[in-house]
Symmetry: C2
Subunit: 157 residues, 2 copies
DNA sequence: CATCCCACTGAGCAGATTGCCCAGCGAATC
DNA sequence: GATTCGCTGGGCAATCTGCTCAGTGGGATG
């Protein structure tokens, strides 16, 4: 879906001040309330904006350690491994990938020691042949989309 | 910070129906409005809930290809590389890690061909020695926190 | 045992926002 | 020329928010 400049401003504004209302947005953007409303509806129905769920910080929840694990899967065991990993709360994200590994997953843990427990639980499953883990030290660029939104908006005026 | 069972229910409810108001939440949870209000304020001020920004889907924006790149950095060039990567909109996330690579970043692109352009831009910087990229095929577990929240809430009744 | 502190309840209030409707208008399309 | 579409600007009732207050119960403290 193509994003327009106004759409971009709406998303950016919403990202900066999430608790802002439609009315206040229309004032800031200098357009009618109905317009903002319509744009928002369109963005949501097209899936560009998935939702406004709370962004929870695992670190603040007591899980300050993040790691990425690359998994190698035994042929044909993919579905089982997926199902297994989905049951582990500390697995925040799972992707199947090309390249050296077959899967890449993001893990969190209460401490480096606790990470061992998590990894044991993750790899303690038959279909997983090998796992290599990289612990995250710093996070210079936290998950962001705004620059991408701005770029997409530029391209369409 | 420790999460309570009520806190957990608030977060889960909020994740399920983000547009819900404080009043409606208090009705659903069977507690007073002020209580929900206070809990929310506490969760936010403690950083457990970072905010309610819109969750944008890069795929819907025209960037359906996701990849993870592992970068090896020349000694001492870390800060420069970070700054460089921060300027690339397609870099959604950047971590410094232990292990084989020095950094891990999440990229998106408009197509596999476009991914080449993005990677060129990412690695077209002096401090980067080597990059290995894994393209994401499937995403069986999209970024999630709810199971973790539920686990954290359980531990505190 | 008496006290204090804290969190929760239930209520009220003014002010603001929402969802919804409508008529008019200009530009692009057929 | 006619139609469609998106935006404007206005109005309405219903709802929610932010804020305040007094009362209550449990737990910790003296």
């Amino acid at each position: 879906m193509a994003i327009d400049h106004l759409d971009g401003r709406i998303i950016v504004l919403l990202a900066r001040e999430p608790r802002i209302g439609v009315l206040e947005m229309s004032r800031r953007l200098g357009v009618a309330r109905g317009t903002v409303q319509a744009r928002l509806d369109r963005l949501q129905s097209h899936g560009v904006i998935r939702g406004f769920g709370p962004q929870v910080d695992p670190a603040a929840l007591g899980y300050p350690v993040t790691a990425f694990a690359t998994l190698q899967i035994r042929q044909g065991q993919g579905p089982d491994v997926r199902a297994h990993l989905a049951t582990v709360p500390e697995v925040l994200e799972l992707h199947t990938t090309t390249g050296n590994g077959d899967m890449l997953c993001r893990l969190v843990a209460r401490s480096n020691a606790d990470l061992q427990r998590v990894i044991d639980r993750v790899v303690g499953f038959d279909g997983i042949v090998r796992a290599s883990t990289a612990i995250v030290m710093e996070n210079p660029v936290p998950l962001r989309v705004i620059p991408l939104v701005e770029q997409a908006a530029e391209e369409r005026g």
